[in-house]
C-alpha cells in the first residue's frame, strides 16, 4: 500500500508529496522503517529500497510484521539533483524534529517524524556526498551506542563509527527518533549521485538479517560480516593543504602505515606536484575522496587507527 504521509502545496499546480510504501503480512505488529533520500544527491538508498521491496513482494509469506519503505524524504531534491530542499537554505537533516506550526519544511519534518516514530527499528540510509566515497558503515553517537550497537552489528556493514555527540546533530532525523525511543541506525555508504550495487546488496543482506533477528522474517538470509567498531580507536583525518587536482594512489579499504604515500595534489597548469599526501596514522582507509578538485581543507581520506596492538595487521 502506497501512502502519502506528508504533503504541501507548491506555488504552481503541484504538491510536494512524501510517500511511503507499507508491506505487511502476518499477525505481528513489529515494524521496521527503511528511510532514505533526505539529501537529494544521495542515491544509494534508491536501489536498496527497490531491491528490499522487490524481495519482500516475492516472498511475502516469509514476512511477519510491517516494513515501511520511505524512498524519498526530499523528493524535490532527488528530482532536481539538489542536496538540500530546493529554495530552502538549511539542510533538511538539520530541521528535525520540525514543527506542526512551522514553515513548510518544518511542518513536513514534523509529519515525517510522527509517521516513523513507533517503529521497532528505523534504518536511515545516506550515501556520503559527491566528494567522498565511504565503505558501508553505521554511525552513532556515544550516548546512543549502548542501545544501538547490538542492532548495528546485525546489519552486515564493514564498520561502526561511534562518535562524540555534537549539539548541531540534535537536529537530525536519527537523533529525534532515538530521543523518542525509536531505535534509528544511520547508514553511510558509497558516494553521492551514484549507485554501488555491491554495497546495496551488502546492506540488503543486513536488513534481512535484522528482520530475522527481530522475528519478522522466516526466509533465507546470508551470513553477515563482523564489523570493525571504532570504540577505543582514533580516526585520522587527511585534509588537503594545497589547491589542485587530487590523484590517489591507494584504494579504498587499504591498510596503510603512518607516512604511506596515499596520493598527490597536482597542478595541471604547471605540471607540478603541489602536495604529496601521506597517511597521518596507521590504519584502514574507510573514506576516500572521489571528486578530484580540491581546495585547502578538502577532506581526502579518513583512516581508522588499529586497536591497541595493531590487530588489523
Amino acid at each position: 500500500m502506497i501512502e502519502t504521509i506528508a504533503t504541501a502545496a507548491l506555488a504552481v499546480n503541484e504538491n510536494l508529496n512524501i510517500q511511503k510504501r507499507r508491506i505487511q503480512n502476518g499477525k505481528s505488529k513489529k515494524r521496521l522503517s527503511l528511510v532514505t533520500g533526505t539529501h537529494g544527491d544521495e542515491l544509494e538508498g534508491q536501489y536498496l529500497a527497490y531491491i528490499v521491496g522487490s524481495c519482500l513482494d516475492e516472498h511475502i509469506d516469509c514476512l511477519d510484521g510491517i516494513v515501511d519503505i520511505y524512498p524519498a524524504l526530499n523528493p524535490m531534491g532527488i528530482d532536481s539533483i539538489t542536496r538540500g530542499v530546493p529554495m530552502f537554505d538549511l539542510d533538511m537533516n538539520r530541521v528535525f524534529p520540525g514543527s506542526k506550526d512551522g514553515t513548510m519544511i518544518e511542518m513536513l519534518c514534523s509529519m515525517i517524524v510522527d509517521d516513523i516514530a513507533g517503529s521497532d527499528v528505523c534504518v536511515d540510509v545516506h550515501s556520503s556526498n559527491i566528494f567522498l566515497q565511504e565503505i558501508p558503515q553505521i554511525r552513532m553517537s556515544v550516548p546512543t551506542a549502548p542501545v544501538l550497537l547490538p542492532y548495528a552489528k546485525m546489519m552486515n556493514v564493514d564498520f561502526i563509527w561511534i562518535h562524540d555527540a555534537a549539539t548541531v546533530l540534535e537536529s537530525t532525523l536519527a537523533h529525534t527518533l532515538n530521543t523518542r525511543g525509536t531505535k534509528t541506525l544511520v547508514v553511510e555508504m558509497g558516494v553521492g549521485m551514484r549507485i554501488t550495487k555491491e554495497y546495496c546488496r551488502q546492506l540488503f543482506d543486513g536488513i534481512f538479517n535484522l528482520l530475522k533477528e527481530l522475528g519478522m522474517w522466516s526466509g533465507e538470509t546470508a551470513p553477515v560480516r563482523e564489523p570493525t567498531v571504532s570504540e577505543g580507536r582514533e580516526v585520522g583525518f587527511v585534509n588537503s593543504d594545497a589547491a589542485g587536482i587530487f590523484v590517489p594512489c591507494v584504494r579504498f579499504g587499504d591498510i596503510v602505515d603512518k607516512g604511506t604515500h596515499i596520493g598527490d595534489v597536482v597542478d595541471p597548469l604547471s605540471s607540478k606536484i603541489v602536495e604529496k599526501v601521506n597517511a597521518v596514522c596507521d590504519g584502514m582507509i574507510f573514506t576516500l575522496r572521489e571528486y578530484p578538485v580540491v581546495y585547502g581543507g578538502s577532506l581526502l581520506a579518513r583512516i581508522l587507527q588499529p586497536a591497541a596492538g595493531g590487530a588489523e595487521k
Binding site: D89, R94, F237
Partner: protein, 307 residues
C-alpha cells in the same frame, strides 16, 4: 585606517581569496563588524563599505576615542559572490554554519577559523545578517539569548525593535552564537535587503551602528535620533503563514500597524487568476517582515507581526 589580509585561500585556477579587514583607531579591541559571508549578501557588504567611509572620516577628524580599535570585514566570501552562488563555491556549505571553525578542518571550517581567530577578543561584535527567505524586514537588531550579554544593550542601536532569539541546535555553529561563547557581546543587524541594495535601509543600519559605537564611547558621531527600541522575545512575535499556494500579493507595507482581521495579502490561482486565499492578521500589532516573491508555497511565513 589599516588594510590587512586576515586570511587567504588558494584555489586551483582562480586568484587567491583574500579576506580583508579594515582597522581604525588603536588600542584595545572594541568592536568588530562583519558583512557578507554568503555570496548574495550584497546589502550586507554595502553597509560595511559605508561604515568604512564613515569611519575614515571620523578617524581623520580624530573622533575615534583613545585606546579603541574597530575592525570591519566587508566580505568573507566573494568567491561565491563573483559566481552568483549563495553558499561556498565548491561544496555549497555555509561559512556561517562553520563557526568557531577549525584550522585543520574542511575548507569552509578553515575560512571560519581564519576569520574567527581575527575577530575574537573584541568587546562588541556586529554581524550584518541576512534571512534565508526572500522578504523585507524593518531594520532591527537581534541577539542570541545565551545569558552572556544584556539584551538592554540592543537599545543603543536606536532601531525600532530589538529581538531576542533563543538559540536552536542549528544556531550553535553561527558566528553570532560563537562570538558570545567566546565572550564578545554579539548582535545581528538586519538591514532589510540581501541581494539588492536598499539605500534607505543601508543608511539606517549605518546610523544604528554609529549610534551604538557612540553610546559605548568608542567614537563620537552625530547621527539622526533613533527610536526608543522595543525589546521583544522572538517567540512572542506572530508568524502568519500562507494557507494556500499560488501568486502572492502583499497589501501592506512593513512598519504599518494592523488590527486583528485586517487583510495583509492575497494568494491567487496561478492559472485562473482568482483569489484563493486572503491572508489576514490574527493579532494586532506592527508588521516587521513581509514575504517578497511573486510565487508562494503553502505554509510559508509571509508576514511577521510584533504584537
Amino acid at each position: 585606517m589599516k588594510k590587512k589580509i586576515l586570511y587567504s585561500l588558494r584555489s586551483p585556477y582562480r586568484e587567491q581569496l583574500d579576506v580583508i579587514g579594515f582597522r581604525f583607531g588603536h588600542g584595545r579591541k572594541s568592536a568588530a563588524i562583519v558583512g557578507a559571508m554568503r555570496g548574495n549578501e550584497v546589502q550586507q557588504m554595502c553597509v560595511c563599505s559605508r561604515m568604512i567611509q564613515e569611519l575614515k572620516k571620523l578617524e581623520a577628524k580624530g573622533l575615534i576615542a583613545e585606546d579603541h580599535e574597530i575592525m570591519v570585514i566587508p566580505c568573507a566570501n566573494y568567491y561565491s559572490m563573483n559566481i552568483g552562488k549563495r553558499f561556498w563555491a565548491m561544496d555549497n556549505t555555509d561559512i556561517n554554519r562553520m563557526f568557531p571553525g577549525y584550522w585543520q578542518g574542511e575548507t569552509t571550517q578553515r575560512i571560519a577559523d581564519g576569520v574567527f581567530s581575527k575577530i575574537q577578543g573584541y568587546e562588541y561584535g556586529i554581524q550584518l545578517a541576512s534571512f534565508y527567505q526572500q522578504g523585507n524586514f524593518l531594520p532591527h537588531v537581534k541577539m542570541m539569548d545565551t545569558g552572556f550579554a544584556s539584551p538592554e544593550l540592543m537599545k543603543d542601536f536606536g532601531l525600532q525593535f530589538g529581538i531576542i532569539r533563543k538559540p536552536r541546535p542549528y544556531d550553535t555553529t553561527t558566528l553570532n552564537y560563537n562570538w558570545q561563547v567566546w565572550e564578545t557581546k554579539a548582535f545581528s543587524v538586519y538591514a532589510n535587503a540581501t541581494d539588492v541594495i536598499d539605500e534607505n535601509a543601508a543608511d539606517e543600519a549605518v546610523y544604528a551602528i554609529l549610534r551604538f559605537l557612540d553610546k559605548q564611547g568608542i567614537i563620537t558621531a552625530n547621527t539622526p535620533p533613533g527610536y526608543i527600541t522595543k525589546l521583544i522575545d522572538e517567540s512572542k512575535t506572530k508568524q502568519i503563514r500562507s494557507e494556500a499556494a499560488g501568486i502572492f500579493k502583499s497589501c501592506i507595507e512593513i512598519g504599518k500597524r494592523v488590527e486583528r482581521g485586517d487583510i495583509l495579502g492575497t494568494i491567487s490561482d496561478p492559472f485562473e487568476g482568482e483569489i484563493i486565499s486572503e491572508i489576514r492578521s490574527t493579532v494586532s500589532g506592527t508588521v516587521y517582515f513581509e514575504y517578497f516573491a511573486p510565487l508562494i508555497n503553502s505554509n510559508t511565513v509571509c508576514f511577521k507581526i510584533i504584537k
